[in-house]
Subunit: 355 residues, 2 copies
C-alpha cells in the first residue's frame, strides 16, 4: 500500500475510489516493512523486485514510495490496545523494519507454498469461476481457523436450508479456512485441511454444494477491525452471504482477565462498515451439545441444563488426553485426525524431554 491508502485504512477502515465512485472497505493495511539497510539499498530506484524464499522474483513493485512505519500508532488503531502479547504484533510487526514500502504491484506468477496444499489456494477469480461452473445463485462464506465440529456443520447446513427457503435454487457454501499465521495453540493448517476433508468424506457437509479453499491471510486477532477484512475478502471472491458469530476474530485481552473486545461489537461494526453496505450478514446461531438428543443442536435457553458447551480448549483437552468427546460432537474420521495430531505432539514433547 501507498501511504495515502495506509492512512485511510488505519483511520477510516476504507479507501476512497477515484472519481467519486464511493469507497472500498479495507480495515487492515496490507503493507511491506523494510529496514534502514533495504531503504538505503533501494535509494532512488523507482522499481523494486520482490523475491520468494527460494530467490526467484515473484513480483515487481513499480514507482515505489517509502514512508515511516509508525508501529505504535498502527497497532493502537488496528487493535484498540497496545498491550504486549498480541500474537500478530509479536509475529509480524514488533521486529519489522521502521519503513513501509508501497507502489504499483506487478505480480509475475502466483505465489506457491509447495506444501501439498496449493490446489486449495484459489484466487478470488478462480473461486468466482468455480461458483459459476457449479451454477451457484447464492454463495455463503464461512470463515474458520478451527476444526469443523457438528455444531459448525449444523449451522452451515441450516444456512443452506434458509437460503433455499428464501428462494435460492443452488446455494453454495464456501468453506474458507484461514491459511496464514495463527497463534501457537491453534491447530495447524495441514491438520485442519485433513480434518475438513474427513468432514466432507463422512458426509457431514455435502461435497456437491461445498467448495473448500484456503484463505491465505494471516490471523490478526483484531476483532471488529479484522472481521471487516474477513467479510470483504470473501465478497471479493464472489460470496454474497457471510456468517458471523459472537466475538469474531476476538481473543482474550493479552494482559487483563477479560475479552479484548466486546463480543457483540464485531457483528455491530461489520453491519455498519463503509464499503460493505450490500453485505448480507447471517447471524451465527449458537450450537451446543444436546445431552438428551445426543447431538449438536441449536441452543434452546428454555432447557439450558440439557446443553453442554464444548469450547476449543475443552476439545483440545479431550483430543490430547485421548478421551472421546460425547457422541455426535464431531464425525469420527475428523476426530481421529485431531487425536493423531495431538498424539504426535505428545510424542515430540516426550522426545524433547528425553533428550
Amino acid at each position: 500500500m501507498r501511504e495515502h491508502e495506509y492512512l485511510q485504512s488505519l483511520h477510516f477502515n476504507c479507501i476512497r475510489l477515484p472519481d467519486g465512485a464511493g469507497v472500498v472497505n479495507m480495515s487492515l493495511p496490507i503493507v511491506l516493512a523494510i529496514g534502514d539497510r533495504e531503504k538505503e539499498e533501494i535509494g532512488a530506484s523507482p522499481d523494486v523486485a520482490l523475491h520468494g524464499p527460494d530467490g526467484g522474483v515473484l513480483a515487481i513493485l513499480r514507482r515505489v514510495e517509502i514512508y515511516p512505519h509508525n508501529k505504535e500508532e498502527r497497532i493502537a488503531r488496528t487493535w484498540g490496545t497496545t498491550a504486549p502479547g498480541l500474537p500478530y504484533v509479536d509475529e509480524a510487526i514488533a521486529q519489522a523494519g521502521n519503513w513501509l514500502i508501497g507502489g504499483d504491484l506487478e505480480v509475475i506468477e502466483p505465489i506457491k507454498y509447495n506444501d501439498g496444499l496449493d490446489h486449495y489456494r484459489l484466487s478470488p477469480q478462480q473461486l468466482r469461476n468455480e461458483f459459476d461452473k457449479r451454477g451457484a445463485d447464492a454463495v455463503f462464506a464461512f470463515q474458520l481457523r478451527n476444526p469443523v465440529h457438528n455444531g459448525h456443520a449444523l449451522l452451515m447446513n441450516d444456512t443452506r436450508r434458509r437460503l433455499l427457503e428464501m428462494g435460492f435454487k443452488n446455494p453454495i457454501l464456501l468453506l474458507h479456512p484461514l491459511g496464514g499465521f495463527t497463534k501457537a495453540d491453534d491447530v495447524p493448517l495441514p491438520v485442519r485441511m485433513e480434518q475438513h476433508s474427513k468432514v466432507l468424506e463422512d458426509g457431514v457437509l455435502d461435497p456437491e454444494t461445498t467448495i473448500v479453499s484456503i484463505f491465505p491471510s494471516p490471523m490478526h486477532y483484531a476483532g471488529p477491525t479484522e472481521v471487516q477484512w474477513h467479510a470483504k475478502a470473501r465478497i471479493n471472491a464472489g460470496a454474497n452471504f457471510y456468517i458471523v458469530g459472537r466475538d469474531p476474530a476476538g481473543m482474550g485481552h493479552p494482559t487483563e482477565k477479560r475479552d479484548l473486545y466486546n463480543p457483540d461489537h464485531g457483528k455491530k461494526v461489520l453491519s455498519m462498515a463503509p464499503g460493505l453496505e450490500k453485505l448480507n450478514i447471517l447471524p451465527f446461531k449458537v450450537a451446543a451439545y444436546d445431552t438428551v438428543a445426543k447431538k449438536m443442536a441449536f441452543f434452546d435457553p428454555s432447557r439450558s441444563k440439557d446443553f453442554l458447551f464444548i469450547s476449543g480448549t475443552k476439545m483440545r483437552a479431550f483430543a490430547k488426553s485421548g478421551e472421546n468427546p460425547p457422541d455426535g460432537f464431531m464425525c469420527p474420521g475428523g476426530w481421529k485426525v485431531l487425536v493423531d495430531y495431538y498424539n504426535s505432539l505428545q510424542t515430540e514433547e516426550a522426545a524433547v524431554a528425553t533428550v
Copy 2:
C-alpha cells in the same frame, strides 16, 4: 451518542446517515460517562435529566441507552497510543465512569458559562446568521488555542487576499479560538480573548471582515483524528474554507522524545476524510520573523538564515522574563496582555512560595 454512533465514530471517523444519504464526519465521539451508582439510579427509566453545576435542568436525554465505556480501546483508537500522559485522557477519561449513556438529546436552554465571555459563544446557527448579515460569500475559519502573533495575522490576511483573487467579493474570517479544556501550559481562554481583542483594536486583523467567536470544544491533542472534528465543526457553522497547518492538534509524544504524530498526517488525513469531501483545505504557509525586514513574513528557504522561528515555548519565555520579542512579532497591545498574564502568574507563584 448511542453505541452504534460511538462505534462508527471510533472505527470509521464518520456516521452513516439513514436512507443511504451518505455519511457525516464524526472523528471524536461525543459521549457522557456515568458510574455504577448513576447507572443503578437510572435503572429502567427511559429519560434522564441533565443538570448544570448550579443544579438547574439544562437538557433531557430521552429513551436512553447505557453501554460499557471501553476506555482503553477508545483511547487507542482516538489517539493511536495508550501511553500515559495524554492531557485529555488524564482530564476527562481516566477517572470517568465505566459506562456511557446516550439518547435523544432535548436541550432546554443554551449552556451559559457566566464567565463574561458568553457573548462570544455563538451557536453554529448564530454564526451562519452573522455571516449572512455581513453578506459573506466565502467564510474561512482559523482554529487556534494560542495568542495571535503577526505570523498568524499575515496568514489570515493573505488568505483573504487569495480569496479575493479567486473572485470572492466579501470573504469573512471566522477567528474561532478553542474554549474548552487545554493543557496547563497553554494560555487560558480569558487571557487569549483579551489578546485577540487587542489584535483587532490594533488593526492587525480587520474587525469589519472578522468574526471572533469561541469554539466550546475541549482540546483532545489527538492530531489527525481531531483535526477532522475541528474542520467539520466549522463547516457546520458555515465555513467553507479551512486553514490547516503542520501537525494540527498535535503534541510531543507523552513518553518518547518525538512528535506523537507525523506532522504531515493531519493535512493528509483531513484531505481524505469521509464526509469532508467538499471541504476546501487551505494549506498553512509557514511564517517566521524576518530579521532583515523586521517583521513576520512567509519563510523564504533561499535566505533561511535571515529567519527566526519563535516557538510558543520561546514566546512564553520572552513574556515570562519580561523581555520584548523582536519588533513586529506581535502588536504591542496584544503583547502587553501576555506579559501581564505571566507577571500575575509569577506573583501568584511567589505568594505560594512565601506561604
